[in-house]
């Protein structure tokens, strides 16, 4: 055996993976070759110390845990959000030409789907109790709803509500009841979306949910403002 042959087999020899014949050959060579013994000894040290390397800790385990939690929470509402988004996107592309009862029925049905989906999402994330439980009262803006987008939507809602209030006097009781019911549902959806966004301000899915809840309120108000 020459040194080239020895080097090719030295790792397997160190790992004890040679058969008896090969092991004998290499040991005979090692007995007479100082350079190859040096290689063997160095590899033995490398293998020995490799098995004893200490574990490293992340620089900030607590922060890393927070990031993991955020990622887990962000993942969970995604299914419900995607379904809601699909509904809203499909509806947004259609032209409406419904009668009064149809407008109210469609709006109430859509909002009911949104409320149920949000309730499922809320249950799965153990979200804290939400204030302003859909009793028609306005919930003050959350701390992070200061973006121009939400401010514009709030402004639009105020304008539409003013128009609706002017027209309400000429409505029949059926239409008024339908309007009140629709506002209960749409405000509940908005309250819950707002709370989720407040709890997860960095979550784009929650922001999108809130945006869509605002837009839905705008659409419902627009519908009633035309009567």
């Amino acid at each position: 055996m020459n040194c080239t042959d020895c080097h090719e087999m030295i790792s397997d020899y160190v790992d004890g993976m040679l058969d008896l014949g090969e092991q004998t050959k290499i040991e005979r060579h090692l007995a007479n070759c100082e350079p190859c013994r040096a290689v063997r000894d160095d590899l033995l040290q490398i293998v020995h110390f490799s098995g004893q390397l200490v574990m490293h800790a992340p620089p900030n385990p607590a922060d890393l845990w927070q990031r993991i939690q955020t990622q887990i929470v962000a993942e969970q509402p995604r299914t419900a959000t995607a379904q809601l988004k699909n509904w809203w996107q499909r509806l947004h592309s259609r032209d409406f030409n419904f009668s009064i009862p149809q407008v109210a029925a469609v709006a109430a049905a859509l909002i009911l789907v949104a409320v149920i989906s949000l309730a499922v999402f809320k249950k799965s994330t153990d979200a804290p109790p939400i204030a302003g439980q859909g009793n028609g009262k306005e919930v003050p803006l959350g701390y992070n709803e200061t973006s121009p987008e939400f401010q514009e939507l709030e402004q639009r809602i105020r304008e539409l509500k003013a128009t609706v209030e002017q027209r309400k006097a000429s409505w029949g009781s059926d239409l008024q009841s339908s309007f009140e019911r629709s506002m209960v549902y749409v405000d509940q959806s908005l309250d819950e979306s707002r709370q989720e966004y407040k709890n997860n301000p960095a979550d784009e899915a929650c922001r999108e949910l809130l945006r869509n809840a605002y837009r839905e309120k705008v659409r419902v108000l627009q519908g009633f403002a035309n009567f």
Binding site: F49, L53, P58, I72
Partner: protein, 199 residues
Amino acid sequence: MTLATQNLMMPAIIERAEEPSSDLDLVKAAAAGDHAAFEQLYYLHNRRVYSLCLRMLGNPNQAEDLTQEVFFQLFRKIGSFRGDSAFTTWLHRLTVNQVLMHFRKRGVRLEHTSEEGDFTNVTETPLGSTRRVSLVDRLALEKAISELPPGYRTVFLLHDVEGYEHEEISTLLKVSVGTSKSQLHKARMRLRELLRTQH
């Protein structure tokens, strides 16, 4: 929050939990939705996962990101752990798979590591002294490992550091057993050169 405070918090988190349970008990609880159990699993095993990621990637920021992804995947898949192997083995394999996926996304090819050539200089120059000095200390070894090409480093870490057999490595990396053995040998010889240069 200072690092010292965080380190103090870590034991407190574990102390607040029930008497330390076996990994299997924690996994069952976490799979049933017990968030505290999952958190305890994190604090028990994050160092193991991070260490492996750091050594395979050679980059602390990437190692943190991959550690985060590993625990996220663990959360998703924890219900599928059946206990037929040790949890640490299962978590280890999950970690290795995540790192390999990361390599594949980045186009890092492990099985064809470019190298300046085999070690043809087999004629070793004997040390000046008849007394052999220790070639290796842990810090030097860590540094040398980080300087290995990704392919060599991966095989070396899996075999010599993490204890995988060549058959397991060949399955993980989708290479032959012969390639795994060859890459390991080249990794060790390269480490030897790097360590000798440091001395």
